[in-house]
């Protein structure tokens, strides 16, 4: 059972425009969500996170939105740059109570391509 889903395998965006990456989850025990960026043959790099007590978190060009009732989160990148081209993974953790020990459940990833 896929508890974290990224239903779009790929996304293509023009440089300067907004990139919106989506993620859905099914486990209501998840209360901490993260986005990672990954280049081929490298480890994922942490981008931004959000706790379930918030609905928005912003860091520079990256903003994550969380809709708990819909069990949906999204990552907005504005403006998109060619260097943003990579695979983006959303991940979820049930660490609100500290009992999940930071274990992450990942989505399948979305390949973002930003064209110059």
């Amino acid at each position: 059972d896929q508890q974290v889903k990224q239903n779009s395998p790929s996304l293509s965006v023009q440089e300067g425009r907004i990139s919106i990456l989506n993620c859905d989850y099914t486990n209501s025990m998840f209360d901490y969500f993260l986005w990672y960026k990954k280049y081929p043959a490298e480890g994922p790099t942490f981008l931004i996170s959000i706790s379930s007590i918030k609905d928005k978190n912003e860091d520079g060009r990256f903003t994550v939105f969380l809709n708990k009732s819909a069990k949906h989160l999204s990552l907005h990148i504005v403006p998109s740059q060619p260097g943003d081209s990579a695979v983006y993974f959303c991940a979820a953790s049930g660490d609100g109570g500290g009992t999940s020990y930071g274990k992450l459940t990942f989505g399948q990833g979305t390949i973002l391509t930003v064209h110059p």
Binding site: A41, P44, F46, F89
Partner: protein, 111 residues
């Protein structure tokens, strides 16, 4: 600052051979340590995690094992590799169970 070292970067091993991947973390104490695997075309799957020396929890049944002989050292092993063990293996760490940071990964190909 904290850093994580994982080696080797690539590895080609014959079926039936043993495996040992090592990971060390610097700049932090008593981290939670993890081994993840990314199979071809799929997301990352948690294999093992450890909250302390000698403490290992397995998330999925498999042909692999893990050990934590020191606070900041995590080892992934197998006595006999299978073709299905091929994949991209990632060591990771976190403190206070918040953000998780990953190593550069090991590309394992079993032939």
């Amino acid at each position: 600052s904290q850093t994580i070292h994982q080696w080797p970067a690539t590895l080609v091993q014959p079926v039936g051979s043993p495996l040992s991947l090592e990971c060390t973390v610097e700049g932090t104490s008593n981290p939670n340590l993890y081994w993840y695997r990314q199979a071809a075309g799929r997301g990352l799957q948690l294999l093992f995690y450890s909250v302390g020396i000698g403490q290992i929890s397995s998330e999925v049944p498999q042909n692999l094992s893990a050990s934590r002989p020191q606070d900041r050292q995590f080892i992934l092993s197998s006595k006999k590799l299978l073709l299905s063990d091929s994949g991209f293996y990632l060591c990771a760490w976190s403190v206070l169970s918040l953000k998780t940071f990953f190593g550069q990964g090991t590309r394992l190909t079993v032939v």
